[in-house]
Symmetry: D2
Subunit: 148 residues, 4 copies
């Protein structure tokens, strides 16, 4: 894994503060469990509300967790006064999402001044078994405070 240059040493507390405004994240029940430079991990228990008609995790849940973990992974590397917005999110669904718990890992692949390239993986956990259900890539566009 790369070691990234951190420009805001207080990125974790800045992100913890931002999370309060992540209404959709709270509506789903997702929370972050690891906030490190260029890498975000989050988890949640899967309940009926996360499902589609076949009893599998809804693709929208998977997409949401990817967007959140990659967006905040990019955010950990932003200077004070800068943020990111998602420009492109591309997801491959590898396996049906069947499980009791879901884990999302978002990571920065390559940071830049205008764009940050990220990757994400999503796993479901069923009993002792952990299965990767999706992989994604994203481009996060850097924005200055005026818009954030």
């Amino acid at each position: 894994m790369n070691a990234f240059e951190v420009k805001n040493p207080d990125f974790e507390s800045t992100i913890r503060e931002k999370l309060k405004g992540q209404h959709f994240m709270h509506h789903i029940g997702f929370d972050l469990t690891e906030i490190t430079a260029g890498k975000i991990v989050g988890e949640m228990d899967l309940t009926k509300k996360h499902m589609q008609q076949f009893g599998f995790v809804h693709g929208g849940v998977t997409a949401t967790l990817m967007d959140i973990t990659m967006g905040f992974a990019a955010y950990t590397l932003m200077p004070v006064g800068y943020g990111v917005v998602t420009a492109n999110l591309s997801i491959d669904f590898l396996n049906p999402g069947d499980g009791d718990r879901i884990i999302a890992i978002g990571e920065v692949e390559k940071p830049g001044k205008k764009m940050v390239f990220c990757t994400a993986k999503i796993y479901t956990v069923k009993g002792e078994e952990m299965t990767q259900i999706a992989s994604a890539r994203s481009i996060m566009a850097v924005i200055s405070r005026k818009r954030s």
Copy 2:
């Protein structure tokens, strides 16, 4: 727009029935307003729970509406006993999602026996103004009843 071959003439009632099991769709508050061969439209009022920290529609909401409308657009063309699962979902976020209402349109671009290629557009409505906030493409994989 293309005229597609319909293999299940009762696709609308089949989809209405399936929607009952779309727990995540109901959790968000989204519903379909138009179900025609190869095209699905849906809408919902935007409230605080759909937002991220900057007061814009969460990317996960946008992604969810795209997945649902493209998935069911593909579903309208399936023979009885067949369904679809999302294989790839690729979204470009064109503008910040700022508005009172959101409209999602999912359409089939090219149906096939194994894969259905779809496109989607998302708009927000603020007062009299309508803005396209995202465009997407997807590949829906055709599955037989065993999995659906």
Copy 3:
């Protein structure tokens, strides 16, 4: 189709000049036939060198034509002193590329100061029949002359 704001009225001659340096485009045998604000069309005859082992157009040829037509479509809207580089290119291959001639159409969907969102379609022509073989989306990143 949208009417886009043109910032360099001489965009066509600027592009014609740039094309001289498109060595890979010439190596393939592709050329542009229409250069208008936000839209580029190009064509070429298909010969054995464009093929893969099944006798169909190579996916790399399709990808190249999409990259070129979308990149120059974005370029038509750049102010003097600015250019674009491809940030993301996402292609769906709808049908096998079987034909005597190939046509590529790249268009701007949404221009911006930092990023231009584009779409492309590729067709093959066999006798009287024209078939769409691929659709794509791209994000072109705007760069200033320093890099271009």
Copy 4:
């Protein structure tokens, strides 16, 4: 890295045979240097014909090398009588392609009966320095001999 199940023990010679028909690959000057189960590596010297107008590797070259290495990576895992065609190819361009030599690595992420999910990375080499210039994901659709 995963250990994948090999169904055609002669996959390397089968691929070596197929390569003869890869006319576009030969036209570019690319060749494979490593053919193992689920992983393909290839390299070539960069010359003027691979460039665009800024003197960097053309995005179409990058896309072509990704399509080839991911396609053959998927092919290594096919049973006799089966092949693959690219369904989706999504590429992020991380850095300008500046160098004397280019290296492409394509790998299977998750094989399946109908679809194989792959990833690819492209590097340029300039003197002693190696730079990753692009990352990609693809979906390869499995086809039976009738079409291959």
